[in-house]
Amino acid sequence: MATQAVVTPSARPLAYLVDLILVLVQKDMKVRYKSSWLGYAWSVANPLLFTVVYYIALGVFLRFEIPGYPYPLFLIAGQFPWQWLASSIGGGPMAFINNASLIKKVRFPRNIIIVSTVLGDAIHFLLTIPVTLLVLLWYGRTPSWSWIPGIPLLVLAQFLTVYGAALAVASVNVFVRDLERLVALFIQALFFLTPVIYSVHVVPVQYHVWIKLNPVAPLIRAWQKLLLDGYLDPLLVGAAYLSAVACLVVGTLVYRALSPRFAELV
């Protein structure tokens, strides 16, 4: 059965796609900051608050320590990258559904919606790096020159990982709306199974295999090593890119398979 639609709209050169992404990111930023007084502070406040809570609960009450680092500093290093990951993937399921009117009425590559929301979250993450820097200085430590190649390298790895995952859950959620709740639960579980509030070194050796199987653990660990020690660990970066490529491929395949029917179902 011939089901192929041969539609030839105006060509979409890269320059146009860049403009489209730019305009959508700008919109998100403006909307987010327009009617709130504290704007930037809010995007930092949330992870900071949780850092304080974890420090009180685990560091003070349970007297948990990470060898070699002040615990609050260690928490900060993992908390901000995690926040980006959690908000991008957690927002994924609703990304297409919230833009239903656009998907129904305008013809444009729909994955651009995900690109722009993840890019917005990435910008928020970059804005938190000065906070990490301040905390680092507070504890008498200094940033490293390795941040200059390291931060862009890890930002790219995380962008690809998070984009792929968000694209997949956003696409599937158009068809099976329950996914939204599952994703929220999954992210919460993944948080405790990823070395964010503890380091790998306090985990008994026989369980290390589980951390190795965790697709986002290398990324978070690479961030911690880079931000705390100024060390860009090639093994962790390699592993992070491996799972980034896997996420990207899976996300793209799922999106390609499902996107032709989005407009009917959102």
Binding site: A2, T3, V7, P9, S10, P260
Partner: protein, 243 residues
């Protein structure tokens, strides 16, 4: 030259898209479920073939649910056909909704850029048209205000003003002609006449038969996803009104 060709296009929708019985019941009755899902479909468009020549204005009429908007959606490329082919040549401005992507927290100016880019212009192209868009809208004094302060008529005017500056080869219009006050409506019609003189192709869905009669060279009457009749506006509209 033919710029739009639909060849034996079918578009069907399943009636139930969600599991209404819950997961457990659905799994227990899985064969039933699959049977009911594949049987319970209806054709939004059933074996439709239409050709539109360059510069032609084609009106589409029919009762609610007859498949008019589905047809425009297919031409716009927001949905795909189940079978058959859809070919469209040239830059399409799908005015299926005025002000697509408008955000109420953004100002009028910001929304012009947002909407223009979503409709297929680059930012540079929007900037080049900005003055003309602003002048056409007649909303200069409000464009620095957020959109939520606008009346619904003003929002529609702004959307229409961007829409008519897209320089499309093909204009798809879904029930959006009558916006704004009579003064602005007159300007809209002037602009549409100008498009017609420039050889822009139109496909218009409307229930306002006088609009269709005024703008169109040919009318297609859809009923239940099939073409009932097509031909000269007066003849088709007369037959439709009698039915």
């Amino acid at each position: 030259m033919i710029v739009i060709r639909l060849d034996r296009v079918r578009k069907e929708y399943p009636r139930h898209r969600h599991l209404t019985r819950g997961l457990k019941q659905s799994l227990l009755h899985l064969p039933d479920l699959i049977r009911s899902m594949s049987a319970d479909r209806f054709f939004a468009l059933d074996d439709i073939s239409v050709e539109v020549q360059k510069g032609e204005a084609v009106g589409i009429i029919g009762a609610n649910g007859s498949g008019k908007s589905t047809l425009l959606g297919l031409i716009a490329g927001v949905i795909g056909p189940q079978s058959g082919t859809v070919e469209v040549r040239g830059r399409v401005a799908p005015l299926l909704e005025l002000g697509a992507g408008f955000h109420y927290e953004l100002t009028g100016y910001e929304n012009i850029v947002l909407n223009g880019v979503l409709m297929g212009l680059t930012r540079r192209e929007v900037a080049a048209r900005l003055e003309a868009i602003v002048a056409f809208s007649g909303l200069e004094s409000s464009l620095n205000e957020p959109l939520r302060t606008y009346s619904s008529g003003m929002v529609a005017r702004l959307g229409f003003s961007v829409a008519v500056h897209l320089d499309p080869d093909i204009l798809l219009i879904d029930e959006i002609l009558a916006v704004g006050d009579t003064h602005f409506q007159a300007r809209c019609y002037d602009r549409l006449d100008e498009f017609r003189r420039q050889g822009t192709t139109f496909v218009i869905v409307s229930h306002a038969l006088s609009e269709i009669r005024y703008l169109c060279d040919r009318v297609v009457w859809l009923a239940g996803g099939k073409i009932m009749m097509q031909g000269k506006p007066d003849e088709v509209i007369a037959a439709y009104e009698k039915s």
